[in-house]
C-alpha cells in the first residue's frame, strides 16, 4: 500500500518517540530532583535524629544488657552444681525479658516500631514453680538471644553513627580548626573510605596542609554529612528486623493465645447456648407440662366428685390438656432439633437438602463431599446454612438462592448465594447468640472463616470455610 500517508505516519512515529524520550528524560529529571531533595533534607529530618537517639540510648543499654546476661549466665553455670546456679540462670532469663521489654519500648518511642507485646510472665506458685516457669519462659530466652545479637549490632550502630556524624562535623570544621596539628582524632569513616593517612597531610597537597587539602577535606565532610543518616538507618533497619523476630511473641505463643481466645469464646458460646436451651425448656415445655398436669388434676378431682359431676367441664379440661400436650410435643421437637438436628445422622448432604427444601425461597443445593466431616463440623455447617437461609428468607427479598458445598484439601467450603437486595452486614444480621454473629464465633472456634460479600442491590454471597476435622 503506497499511500501519501506513509511519510506522515513515520513523522508521527518520530514525534511520538521524541515525546517518549522527553517524557522519560523529564521523568528521570523528576526522579533525580526527588532523590536529591530527600538526600538534602534527610540530615535535618526528625526521623534521622530519632534513629540517632535510638542508637545513642540503645548502645549503652545493649552493653548493660550483654554484661548482665554474661555475668548472670556465667555465675549460674559456675554454680550449676549447687541449687543456686539454676536460680541465677532463672534470674538471668527474667532479667533478659525485662531488658527486652526496654528495647521494645525504646523502639516504640523512637522508631515508631510497634512490636506486639508477648504474654506477661506468669509464675506457678511457690519458689520451685517460679524457678520452673522462669527457666521455661520462651520470651525470656528469646530476649536473651536478642541481647546477644544486639551487642554487635549496637557496636556497628555506634561506629556508623558516631564515625559518620563525628567525622562529618570534624571534616566540615577542619578548614577552621584543622591545619594546626598533625594529630587528627577522627573515628575513621574517611580512613575507611579513603585509606589510612588521609588526614595526616600530604595526600592532596604534597605533604603540606595546603588550601587544596582543606577544601578536599571540607568536601568529604559534606559527603559524610549527607551520608550519615543513611549509614545509621541501615544499621537500625537491621536491628528492626532482628527485633521483629526476637522480641515479638513467637509463632507458638501467638498460636497459643489465639487458641486460648477461641476456647474462651467457645466456652462462653456454649454457656450461652445452654442458658438459651434452659430458658426455652423452662418457659416453654416445662410451663406447658405444668399447665397440662394442672388441667388433668382438675379433671381428675371433678371426676372423683361424682355428686356434682359436670361432664362438659371435664371434657373441656381434658380437651385443653390434650391440646396442650400436642403443643408441648411440637415445641419439644423444635427445641431438640435446635440442639442437634436429627437429619445430620444421615449425613450433611441429606440434612442440607432438607434445609434447602424447607426454605421459603427456592434453593438449589449442590454438594460434592468425598469425605465426611467430623460431627462438630457438620453441626456448625448445618447451623450456618440454616441461619443463612433463614436470613435469605427474612431479609433478602430474593427470588432464588443456592447452597454449594465443596471439599478441597482438608477444608469444607460452603457458599450460600442469593439474588436479593444485598447490603447484608454481620452486625445487622446477627444480634443474638443464635444469629450470624454467634455463628461467626462458632466458625472461628474451629479456625474456620466466614466472609460476607453483599453490595447494595445484591447479590449476597456468604462463604464459610471449615476444616473437615476439628
Amino acid at each position: 500500500m503506497t499511500s501519501p500517508q506513509t511519510p506522515s505516519t513515520a513523522a508521527q512515529l518520530r514525534e511520538l518517540f521524541k515525546q517518549m524520550v522527553n517524557v522519560a528524560t523529564e521523568d528521570r529529571a523528576d526522579r533525580f530532583r526527588e532523590v536529591a531533595l530527600v538526600i538534602w533534607r534527610e540530615p535535618f529530618a526528625r526521623r534521622t535524629w530519632s534513629e540517632f537517639s535510638f542508637v545513642a540510648i540503645g548502645g549503652p543499654l545493649a552493653a548493660v544488657g550483654a554484661a548482665f546476661v554474661a555475668c548472670t549466665l556465667w555465675a549460674g553455670i559456675l554454680l550449676t552444681i549447687t541449687f543456686f546456679g539454676l536460680a541465677i540462670v532463672a534470674l538471668s532469663v527474667r532479667g533478659a525479658r525485662g531488658i527486652g521489654g526496654w528495647h521494645r519500648q525504646l523502639a516504640h518511642n523512637l522508631l515508631g516500631e510497634d512490636i506486639a507485646e508477648p504474654e506477661p510472665f506468669v509464675a506457678r506458685p511457690g519458689f520451685l514453680g517460679w524457678l520452673q516457669s522462669s527457666l521455661r519462659d520462651r520470651t525470656g530466652w528469646r530476649s536473651m538471644a536478642y541481647i546477644a545479637l544486639k551487642l554487635p549490632l549496637a557496636i556497628l550502630a555506634i561506629v556508623a553513627g558516631f564515625a559518620f556524624w563525628w567525622d562529618a562535623f570534624f571534616c566540615l570544621a577542619f578548614p577552621v580548626l584543622g591545619g594546626r596539628g598533625n594529630n587528627v582524632p577522627a573515628f575513621g569513616a574517611p580512613n575507611l573510605l579513603f585509606g589510612n593517612g588521609f588526614f595526616s597531610g600530604g595526600q592532596f597537597s604534597g605533604g603540606q596542609f595546603g588550601f587544596l587539602h582543606e577544601v578536599a577535606i571540607f568536601l568529604v565532610g559534606i559527603l559524610l554529612f549527607f551520608a550519615a543518616p543513611w549509614a545509621v538507618r541501615g544499621v537500625v533497619y537491621l536491628d528492626r528486623r532482628v527485633m521483629r523476630v526476637m522480641l515479638a511473641p513467637d509463632a507458638l505463643s501467638v498460636r497459643v493465645r489465639s487458641l486460648e481466645e477461641a476456647r474462651a469464646q467457645t466456652v462462653d458460646t456454649s454457656a450461652a447456648t445452654l442458658r438459651r436451651i434452659e430458658r426455652d425448656l423452662h418457659d416453654g415445655t416445662q410451663a406447658q407440662l405444668v399447665a397440662l398436669a394442672m388441667r388433668l388434676g382438675m379433671a381428675k378431682e371433678k371426676l372423683d366428685d361424682s355428686e356434682h359431676l359436670d361432664l362438659d367441664q371435664v371434657r373441656q379440661l381434658v380437651g385443653d390438656a390434650h391440646q396442650g400436650a400436642k403443643e408441648a410435643i411440637v415445641d419439644l421437637r423444635d427445641l431438640a432439633r435446635g440442639i442437634h438436628p436429627p437429619a445430620l445422622d444421615i449425613g450433611l448432604h441429606g440434612a442440607l437438602s432438607t434445609l434447602a427444601a424447607r426454605c421459603m425461597v427456592p434453593t438449589e443445593l449442590t454438594a460434592t463431599l468425598a469425605e465426611r466431616p467430623t460431627p462438630a463440623i457438620e453441626a456448625i455447617a448445618y447451623f450456618c446454612v440454616a441461619e443463612l437461609l433463614a436470613n435469605v428468607a427474612q431479609h433478602a427479598q430474593a427470588s432464588r438462592a443456592s447452597v454449594a458445598c465443596t471439599e478441597n484439601s482438608g477444608w469444607l467450603r460452603i457458599v450460600v448465594r442469593d439474588d436479593g437486595q444485598g447490603g447484608a452486614q454481620l452486625s445487622r444480621l446477627g444480634s443474638s447468640s443464635s444469629g450470624l454473629a454467634g455463628l461467626t464465633d462458632r466458625v472461628h472456634a474451629v479456625d474456620g472463616r466466614l466472609a460476607i460479600e453483599s453490595p447494595p442491590r445484591g447479590p449476597t454471597v456468604v462463604t464459610v470455610d471449615l476444616p473437615l476435622h476439628a
Binding site: 423452662h282 416445662q286 399447665a291 388434676g297 382438675m298 396442650g324
Partner: protein
Amino acid sequence: MTGPIRVAIAEDSAILRDGLVQLLVDRGFTITGAVADPEALHRSVGMEQPDVAVIDIRMPPTFTDEGLRAALELRRRFPGLGILLFSQYIETRYAAELLADDAAGIGYLLKDRVADVSDFVEALARVASGGTALDPEVITQLLGASRRTDSISVLSVREKEVLSLMAEGRSNAAIGGALVISEGAVEKHVANIFTKFDLPVSQSDHRRVLAVLRYLDS
C-alpha cells in the same frame, strides 16, 4: 376469714397464668389481679390488697430472682399479706432468705404441685390465713444444707418423716393422716423431736415450723 380468699397472681408464662386463674376461680377464690411482671404486681397488690400473692420467682426483666425480690418488698410493705412463691426449681438460698425473719404466711412450692389440685389449694388457703406451706423439696434441701445435719441423725426414721411434714406446715391431724398413724402417735413423735432438739413445745402450726427452721438455721 369471711368471703372468698382474694389472690393476686404474678406469673410471666401466659399459659400457666391462665391455668392458675381458671383453677383458682373454679375453686372459689377471687382473683384480684393476674400480672406478668413484678412492677405490675406491686401496683395490683397496692390497689387491691389481696389476702395472698402467688409469685413466680423467675420473671422479667432478667429472669433470675425478681419474684423473690418482689416478695420480700411486698412483705415489708404489707406485713399481713400471705406470699406463695412458685417456682420450677427450689433454691435453698431463696428459701433461707424468704424465711429469714418469719415463716408465718409464707409458702414456697414447686410448680409441679398444682397437679395435685386439692393439696395446692389447701396450701394456698393455709398461707392466706397466716400459715406456712413449704415444698417437701424445700425441707429436704434445708435439712441437707443445714450444718447440723448430724443432729438430724439422732431422729428415728418416723420422727424425720414427722419433722418433714411438720416443716411443711401440716397439723398433727394432717400428719397422722399422711403417715396413717393416730394423732396421738404424732403428738408423741413431735414431743420426742422437740426433746431431742431441746426445744420448747408449742401448739401453733407455724410456730412449730419456725422452731424447726430456727433450729436448722442455727
